[in-house]
Symmetry: C2
Subunit: 501 residues, 2 copies
């Protein structure tokens, strides 16, 4: 092993220990911790974040990165090691321009904001969340400006954290294509709204029984309970401390069957990515997914391309009917498949169907652009939010809880994250197109055998962790870089057929 | 505020952040974490323990402690601050003589040992646990020898960590008194074993329903769900990150009603101690209990003096019968009270009645003395264990799982801990005697009002955290230092009456 790389390892190990502790603190806050603990935990998070910062932002690490970036040393590193150095350098650049005290303050603020946000969402009072949101935006803007070069668009720098290379230029083009194709398509679909009746979905499905079925679904898709756990939280999410400890949550509503099922499938898609990373990368900066876009591509692939397909449900629907014999006694497989694919504008992103989903993302993207270009103040956000929901989806949220307060991301200090949901959906369609050429996907699903699907994804994506950038990985798999046309074609064909347009 | 004390605060805060993270990692390992994560978590625990060590073991902290220990500075500190300095000094002395690398190695070993132990307990193979147990003992012996003065008994140094001042001299005397009184008493009781029939206890009580009732019990006794959570683990235990985040676990067996109920009451006793600590002490070395003996006094007071009393169950037994109407239909309150107090030698400490319980502790105490005096090797432990169980309790464990492997303490690196269970029981009896003189305890319980009990304990014990040493605290409350006579009298009177001796 390269001697400088060897010298780097103890820093990576220490850094990973802190990341594990911080991820566990965050997981615990969202799943279990008692309410009164929040402010104390936030303080601990601030302190530990600062200590973690100090491990990477030091002269020794800086010098090692510098040495390891030279042509001479690069030639002695394998591709994984090269990726580790590249990712570490990026992280170092991002962190080292932030003053230590500010980093701690921001970390503590994010932990506090989670709690403030959750309370505001419960009461629906945006004004209770607005002051801390302003602070979060200020910090984010300041941190981005620290690393900005002349002429950089601040929002581009934020986007770069979640999906390298996907600048506003790329995304403007992407969303404009989506808008042009989907808004008229949705209009046609809406006119035939009565074609699909999914009233069965709002019958009474006790959470306790949903829980068991969803656990079964995760295992069916390949979730490894030896290396992961399933819990519950207000918002479903997945987190991974490393590839041997991957955790997902769900949230069950007694009167909504789909919500729990598709959250389970979606989060399992995320979890399989993390579980599939090669052991050689465990605990290094390359030991997790390459980007949020690629991560979402996996969850949305499972949720939509797999989970909403007739083939997937052919072997499973009888089991679902056994689980809820009364509630589903008059629902046929065909009616169920139509139901879970019905397109209907609603206020909540996470409950959205495939067709309206990207429009929810577009709204957040446009708002974030306006926030960071200074065109929109925090105070103006709720009104602007509602206006855009009216413009794109024809609906007006009843209150802030189902409007501007519905998502936790901003409270976590994550700005520039949302677009990766739409990018992920588009990547999923691109991979799906290619996968169908390579393996008899539909046949496997009909046989009740999702193993080859997971293996395909593991061998082509998961195992590489963050070694290859998104576009490089896409090129390896599909022969081309990101291309949203597959997504537009997929949605158009799917909904044209479903609604007999 | 004293300026040196003020300079100390950031170190205390940082140290507390690490303690929180480490306690959470440990809690998570015992309640939720997936099996395959264990070895990775152990590594993180080792690293973070070392970092926590470095925060306290440094020249700055050493100098501040030295300054703050001077007469001049002590005079400017309040009693809580003086306690913080004293406790910190003790911790510093203990840690600073251990080389940093060894401390990390030991911390990682303890985390690993938990997993190895749990697997060995499942299979009943002591030989699988023996090698790591040897290592744990070696480390413990070495660490104690680092701080030993000429003539110190190593085991005394270990005991001192859990209960200051309770040396082998004190404990030999204590256990000898117990043995002299209890062994003949137990013999007489055993002869009348048929007097009490508790076959009802082994009927079918679904865990799901026990869970609800036990949660109710904890709340009834004063557990504050805003500052605490309840979960499940193989062994019931309580942990506290601070007084606003206190966590207890239980373990339910479908065919054992008592086990869950008395674990719930016992652990709630621990939890109330931690929740009752004054906010001024939160996050400082004085922010938790003074000792394990005092901690156990609270849990055993609730479990036995309160939880096994007729007065306690008078208002609650109807609710228990409502919860299990079929299973308890033929059980009267009197039969239940006799049942939960029945004395019967068994192999498992945590399931033991009040009378045989201290004998379980005595066995462990004697074994630990032999281990650290070098009279007994790890290999010889199972045989010696079984011999002592036969001598004192007249029973032979069926296998290692219900013998030498039944308790997790040694796997956590805790040697010298066990005696505090018996010390705690004796303290509980001493406090009970005094409390009955001060408040109409029985009346409150009969009325279904346990609040004054909790308030009494909070005002006299809990709120002080670790400010006063055990004997000082006992003197404040009861007018005398530790006195085991109350305990012996309590048990003798109770069992003489119950068995009509």
């Amino acid at each position: 092993m390269n001697k400088f790389y060897e010298q780097l390892l103890p820093y990576l190990e220490r850094s990973h220990a802190y990341q594990t502790a911080l991820a566990l603190l965050s997981w615990d806050m969202e799943t279990l911790a008692p309410p009164a603990a929040a402010e104390y935990t936030a303080k601990s998070v601030g302190i530990l974040s600062e200590e973690a910062y100090c491990i990477l932002v030091c002269d020794e690490v800086r010098d090692l990165i510098k040495k390891l970036s030279s042509k001479k040393e690069q030639d002695t590193l394998n591709v994984s090691e090269q990726a580790v150095v590249r990712l570490l350098q990026k992280e170092y650049k991002k962190l080292s321009c932030i003053p230590q005290g500010e980093y701690r303050e921001f970390s503590e603020l994010c932990a506090t904001a989670q709690t403030v946000y959750c309370r505001a969402k419960l009461t629906g009072k945006f004004e209770d969340f607005a002051p801390i949101l302003e602070k979060l935006i200020d910090f984010t803007r300041r941190f981005a400006s620290y690393r900005a070069q002349r002429g950089d668009n601040l929002y581009d720098l934020l986007l770069d954290e979640y999906e390298e290379g996907f600048t506003t230029k790329v995304l403007d083009d992407f969303f404009s294509k989506l808008r042009d194709a989907l808004v008229p398509l949705l209009k046609k679909v809406s006119e035939k709204n009565d074609l699909i009746n999914k009233s069965y979905n709002a019958r009474y499905y006790p959470a306790e029984i949903q829980r068991g079925f969803c656990r079964y679904l995760s295992g069916y898709l390949g979730f490894d309970f030896n290396r992961g756990v399933i819990a519950e939280s207000e918002h479903p999410f997945t987190t991974a401390f490393h590839n041997h400890d991957v955790r997902l949550t769900n949230h069950f509503y007694d009167n909504n069957l789909e919500s729990g099922i598709f959250s389970a499938i979606h989060e399992t898609g995320h979890a399989l990515y993390e579980m599939g990373v090669d052991d050689a990368l465990t605990g290094t900066p390359a030991g997790s997914s390459i980007s949020m876009g690629m991560h979402e591509s996996q969850s949305r692939f499972y949720e939509n391309m797999i989970g909403r397909s007739r083939e997937f449900w052919e072997p499973l629907f009888p089991k679902l009917k056994e689980t809820f014999p009364q509630e589903l006694h008059d629902v046929s497989l065909d009616a169920f498949i139509s139901g879970i694919n019905k397109a209907e504008p609603g206020p909540i992103r996470t409950e959205a169907d495939e067709l309206t989903y990207p429009l929810h993302i577009m709204i957040r993207y446009e708002l974030e652009k306006e926030i960071f270009s200074g065109k929109c103040t925090v105070k103006e956000l709720p009104e602007l939010w509602n206006k855009k929901y009216n413009d794109y989806l024809g609906i007006t949220p009843k209150n802030a809880s189902e409007g501007i307060l519905q998502d936790i991301h901003w409270a976590l200090g994550s700005f520039g994250y949302f677009p990766s949901y739409a990018v992920g959906s588009a990547i999923a369609a691109q991979i799906y197109h290619y996968m169908e050429e390579k393996i008899p996907l539909a046949d496997y699903l009909k046989e009740g055998n999702p193993v080859p699907v997971r293996e395909f994804l593991r061998d082509n994506i998961h195992k590489y962790g963050a070694v290859y950038p998104t576009n490089e990985l896409l090129k390896k798999i599909t022969g081309e870089e990101f291309n949203p046309d597959y997504y537009i074609r997929y949605l158009t064909e799917k909904y044209t057929k479903l609604y007999q347009l």
